[in-house]
């Protein structure tokens, strides 16, 4: 007699085991078809399972998704990714030396934020999670400003209220990062619904990790986006790991996250997230589709979280040390660099020179940022600021508490 047996998903390898990424279903570069912008969802269900790739193993750009970008644009993209990485690298070290309390790197998945942001308009509204710092780099927020947020210093855009990396930028059209996962996904849909109500030309884009697609907010976002055909791109960054939990626990075992789209009547694209050209082209397609009123797209960006989840995490306790070395989709920076070299628009020397220049830029930015204070060194933010912005106008009970704090600090 057979009985039901509880299934618990197992990752491909744990520490001490040999990584085996055969579970990833990969398509060769150039094979996935590129449909018309206004195609019916039912006619492109396959794109939710295939992998949209442009860069092949010989570093050539091939197939219908090749966005045919000018080499100068590719160089800009490379620069943005390298700057994001140099910034991450330095901030990681500053956390380790005790200058900042917490940090989260985007190592290995820089192409997601950088290529997507470049494919969107500056007026499109972005609702990121905490690993899309590349958006800020592309939209040109000075690194000093980001560092001041990380330091919770006197120039902190959040006035000392948020954990490091929870940036926001109203003028740059980048929404405040919450820290509660996936809450921004349905909010982005609401923003997009308002854009459609008002007849705006702008669209919204939002990002979550595959792990947090498990939240109810994911369902709400998908439902509202499809019901109202909201002009929004919903991105699931499948970097394989949600802290220690592999993507199988979010329902990704032998399944695609992009495939959740067609069930809602929404276009779903599964994209090689480490292929700058593929990410750019797919985003461009989804943006154009949203802008013309043909509806939302869910995009799964298949990538790998090469760094720890955060500075509080130690991945050697739950995944093999050489996991990333065997990751089949490579490194986004290396792949774009090799492509540019292959088409004669880049060189190792230029690459090394650019890396040095960006490192120096990060160093100079840090030097400037710390002059505005750190979490432990003056100048310090005025603690009374904690009472502002709870409401637009401070109510009596907060005025009273502010006065109490004032007395406390004055030693009365």
């Amino acid at each position: 007699m057979r009985r039901s047996r509880l299934h618990t998903p197992k990752p491909h390898a744990r520490p001490g085991e040999t990584p085996d990424f055969s579970y990833l279903e990969l398509s060769p570069a150039g094979v996935a078809p590129r449909p018309d912008i206004n195609v019916r969802v039912r006619d492109i269900n396959g794109l939710a399972y295939e992998l949209i790739r442009v860069l092949d193993d010989e570093h050539r750009a091939v197939g219908p998704w090749n966005p045919h970008l000018d080499p100068s644009e590719l160089q800009v993209g490379l620069r943005h990714m390298m700057l994001t990485r140099a910034f991450d690298d330095r901030m990681q070290r500053m956390q380790r030396s005790g200058k900042i309390s917490f940090y989260m790197r985007s190592l290995g998945e820089e192409a997601v934020a950088v290529a997507q942001c470049m494919a969107l308009r500056p007026t499109d509204m972005l609702f990121p999670a905490y690993r899309q710092q590349g958006l800020y780099v592309v939209r040109g927020r000075p690194l000093v400003d980001l560092m001041c947020q990380l330091l919770s210093n006197t120039r902190d855009m959040c006035k000392g209220r948020q954990l490091p990396v929870m940036y926001h930028w109203r003028e740059g059209n980048i929404f405040s990062i919450s820290g509660n996962l996936t809450t921004q996904f349905p909010q982005a849909v609401g923003w997009a619904m308002a854009a459609a109500i008002k007849g705006q030309d702008d669209i919204a884009a939002s990002w979550i990790g595959e792990g947090s697609s498990a939240e109810a907010d994911f369902h709400h976002a998908m439902l509202f986006a499809s019901v109202y055909r909201a002009p929004v791109i919903l991105n699931v960054v499948n970097n394989q790991w949600a802290i220690s939990t592999f993507q199988g626990f979010a329902g990704g075992e032998h399944r695609s996250f992009a495939a959740r789209g067609p069930g809602f009547g929404m276009a779903g694209l599964r994209v090689d997230g480490n292929d700058f050209l593929a990410v750019y082209a797919a985003t461009q397609w989804a943006a154009e589709r949203a802008r013309m009123g043909a509806g939302a797209t869910i995009m799964e960006l298949v990538t790998y979280r090469a760094a720890a989840h955060s500075t509080s995490d130690d991945p050697s306790r739950y995944r093999p040390k050489d996991d990333y070395d065997r990751w089949p989709l490579g490194d986004p920076v290396e792949r774009l660099k090799n492509h540019l070299i292959a088409i004669g628009e880049w060189s190792e020397d230029r690459h090394a020179a650019l890396a040095a220049e960006l490192d120096e830029h990060v160093t100079q930015s840090w030097r400037q940022a710390v002059t505005y204070g750190t979490l432990t060194e003056p100048p310090r933010l005025d603690p009374h600021l904690m009472f502002a912005d709870v409401f637009k106008h401070m109510p009596e009970h907060l005025k009273k508490q502010e006065a109490q704090l004032h007395a406390e600090l004055a030693g009365e």
Partner: protein
Amino acid sequence: MAQMNMIQALNSAMDIMLGRDPNVVILGEDVGYFGGVFRVTDGLQRKYGEHRVLDTPIAEGGIVAAAIGMGVNGLRPVAEVQFADYIYPAYDQIVSELARLRYRSAGDFFAPVTIRTPCGGGIRGGQTHSQSPEGIFAHVSGLKVVMPSNPYDAKGLLIAAIEDDDPVVFFEPKRIYNGPFDGDPNKPAVPWSTHPKGEVPEGHYTVPIGKAEVVREGGDVSIVTYGTMVHVCEAAARSLGLDAEVIDVRSMVPLDVETLVNSVKKTGRCVVVHEATRFGGFGGELSATLQEECFWHLEAPILRVAGWDTPYPHAFEWEYFPGQKRVARALTAVMEAR
């Protein structure tokens, strides 16, 4: 002026705001074509169109999240949660997002969302259509929380809420939608046309959020209450022949401490009354604040009257509901204390 019940007054508030401000939108379950299960949005979609008054999927979390995103994009959404008992799927969006967006972004982003939701019992709604969860919202920093007790305040407070740039959770005591209710279910229903607060201006006006109202002046004892219980308390005091001062709190956040304190200092006695469960309820905050501010003026301990600390039972509705008897016992105890 016109005679309006609370449903008509709330409808009029939204009608006026939809007409005055093209950024005002209404969204919720059944609010559009049908006009809401309590008819509060009746006729508004027909008048202002499907892009201003939106029917939504049954997903309170999605409704509030969408309203937040709309608010960030310049709209002024009024979201309806069909029953306060169904608001919990939206709790994270309200508490972690709506309430804190202005704060966490240092004032750079905000969402001027009003969440309307019918609350309270007395309608044979059982444990899923009778709750009064105002206390768990009042406890959250960054939310304004109001509950009107009559048509005049309902309209004025709702207009004030929609015009407010801060998020407002707007509780509507559904038992008094159609008329004031003194707590006795065996008496014939009384329409709002019999009550002075059923007289409502047809045009735009506001009742300021953060101001309590002395509903009845008196010298014997202060009754601090809100919502349906305002009417129950008035009747209870009348039945005892007490010269009670009845205060309608109206706004839990911000709380008009001054009006409450002035009254309790004057009378020296106080009973705090609400329909919600007692333990950890908003009455505790009222009672503690008044004790801190008025201790040396008090002739008796401040007593609380509330719903029992059980889920709201269907079959024992009137044994559960804090009716005139329960209020009267507390008033007597407070008056007899020496």
